[in-house]
Amino acid sequence: MNDVNSQEKTNLSIPIGRMLRSDTTGFTFGCLLPEPEVPLFGDFVKAPAQQGLTEIIGIIHNIVIEDDLFVRQLIAAPELPEAYIQDQRKNRQIPIEVSVLSVGYSSQSNIIQGLPPQPPVTLDYIKRCSLNDVIHFTDRQDYLALILNSKETPAEELIATALQRASQARPIEDREIFLLQAGKELARLLSDDLSKLNSILRRIQVNT
């Protein structure tokens, strides 16, 4: 549990970026490279909505590092000194764009797995979910259907990674039961697509 507790401390309410654009199904936020907590594919994040009345829970499904003409011409430069690389990485304000699939929201301490009533607003702070948030949200598995039905995400990879994150947020003794329940839900949802089901289950087993 020690590793989980120390990870929990580092996760407490640190904003990892600001909202760029959003709709009901998801949102995209931007962050700069030397952020202390660089977001990862499959991470659970949260964003305020409805003036703080609700908090949207989402899962990161894509991370894009944009280029520009300035960077492109430097790529061709021979023997580029480290200081130029550091300037581009640390000083230039080219955001990393992180796309998030909305999978639920919390309202007055209740967790709802489904699309939120309103998307977050531009420039809102995005935070990484704490381990407790992740455990609480993934107590039920209804959000898996939202991921499977999403056309813009690599659903199999995303489910496998998100389940690993949710499993690792739990104490070691609870992880197997959690994955077993998730597997049952996936079997129900993918009863007509056994190859996809098999692919996800194999990834979960291999990585836990």
Partner: protein
Amino acid sequence: MGLELNKLSEQVNNMGSTIASRSAEIADRLPKARATLAKITNNDPVLEKKIERALSMHWTGAIPTSEPVHAVFQCPSHPERANIAAADGSQVYPDRHGIALYYLINTGSIIFRHGLDEAPICSSNPHLFHEDHDLYPNEVLIPSSLVNARRDIAELRELAQIAKREVKTAPTLLMLDNGLLLYLGLQTAEHRQSDEILGEYLETLSDIESTNACIAGVIDRPRAANVLRLLRLYDMENDMFDNHALRTLGDYSQLTDRMLFGTLQPGERSAIFVNASPQNLERYLPKGQKIVFYYVNAGTSEQPVILRVEIPEWVANQPEQLSLTHSGIVEQARFGKGFPYVLMRSHELAVVSWTERGHLDEMIGSSMHRSGLSAVISRKAQGKQWTNSAKRRYGQ
């Protein structure tokens, strides 16, 4: 209706042909110009006499220094450790159609510590001017030329501050993305303000001189023809020329110094010349500053880039400082396709985009609302906002 490009196609074709034939004509004049440059010797008493008379007629040519005018200097080696700093500024002019009268100057700067593997130090300093004495320095709304001059002073002051800090650690080169002669300020009708601004600028230049840092103003794609005017003067039969002959370029019409020095190899610089403009000799020199210049090829053999570099005479007189301006600009340009990297970055740090300007107006509007004031733009500005916005058509 916006710009109908289809109606311009014939005119554009004509323009292309004209540019091509003009370029060929101009190129034909270059060999004579280069041959004349090669003929000029230093300490030629006839030429010196012509220069003396030309100066009395407010000539804007180039005065040779101790370096032979056709000399070419290889790029010296860059110090292993040096601080290369640049500052640039941008401005938002007062807009009588906006929600409030103000102007903004934003100064961006970068300190690049050559020889260390660390990220450069970047900063951006915006300053809002809204008081009566800012907006109405002469009882009329401040003209854009004065805002530009204030911006130029802000850039130089930023560099002076950097110089004080950075010279303690390594030789320091400061760069500006324009010349060192403050033309815009001097063109203003208000002479008193013009004198004040020039005084501030030259005082700051002297502050930099006292720090032992060196400074260079870098001009990309220069249109100047000071050296060509020297060639024109050399060609004249005697020193009894009239004002018209002095103002025209004769056989060198439409050529530029940049073309003249197009034979410089990568890294090479030309000789140094004194800028003979009245601004330099009549206004800078009495206050202890004199601007000289050279041309340098900061590009490659495939893509030469001839830059004009303006430096104070005190930099030119110190071999180590002169050498740092030369090698520093060439080294920085290696990573900017022929233009110094730090100047590109300082511009990026300074520039105020239309979006940012819109956000600033929103902030000012909110502040006015909180003070019980109405924040509205003029009807004309409103109309422009409506008609300039992206057109949308139903069904698309």
